[in-house]
Symmetry: C2
Subunit: 99 residues, 2 copies
């Protein structure tokens, strides 16, 4: 792999890292790695205020990590790209393996 390509990949991937690099945002991503969830499900799963949850989901959507599907009153969020799901899953494999 040449250096130029490597650098452009690093720009792209570090932006994803940055969007995930927060305890609660990572937690959200871990839950979403298991499949689509709506906002109140996420609110129950994570200890987080509604306002922050909304901000975090919004931010990760803006940065193309998440996509939304609206159904009546509910917004269902899911991971936008299967590479990101893979990333979360390998992080779980590496850091959360049972001892």
């Amino acid at each position: 792999m040449n250096l130029e390509l490597m650098q452009s990949k690093c720009v792209e991937v570090s932006a994803i890292m940055k969007a995930i690099a927060h305890p609660q945002r990572l937690m959200l991503m871990c839950h979403l790695a298991e499949g689509e969830k709506n906002v109140s499900e996420l609110l129950d799963l994570c200890e987080i205020s509604q306002s922050q949850l909304s901000q975090f989901l919004n931010r990760m959507q803006r940065e193309k990590l998440l996509k939304v599907r609206r159904d009546g009153n509910f917004s269902y969020y899911s991971i936008a790209d299967k590479n990101i799901t893979k990333l979360i899953q390998s992080m779980q494999k590496i850091f959360c393996k049972e001892e």
Copy 2:
């Protein structure tokens, strides 16, 4: 996996993410994933000023991502934990596979 354990893992892992979440720091980690390198080797490999390189290496060492071995004038940096090497490698596998 219970929620409490999951949360504490997320705190730990998101701190690692945060330390890596920068184009040039990620680039450094990718080079270091191949093995120990000294500072001038890294300076040649990455387009980065000496002052920033020093700051970045220092920061990632402080946050336990890197370790240093000094040999005369040279400081050799390497990744401090094999889980972090694994993480970098799986990121490379996911995002840098050749098409």
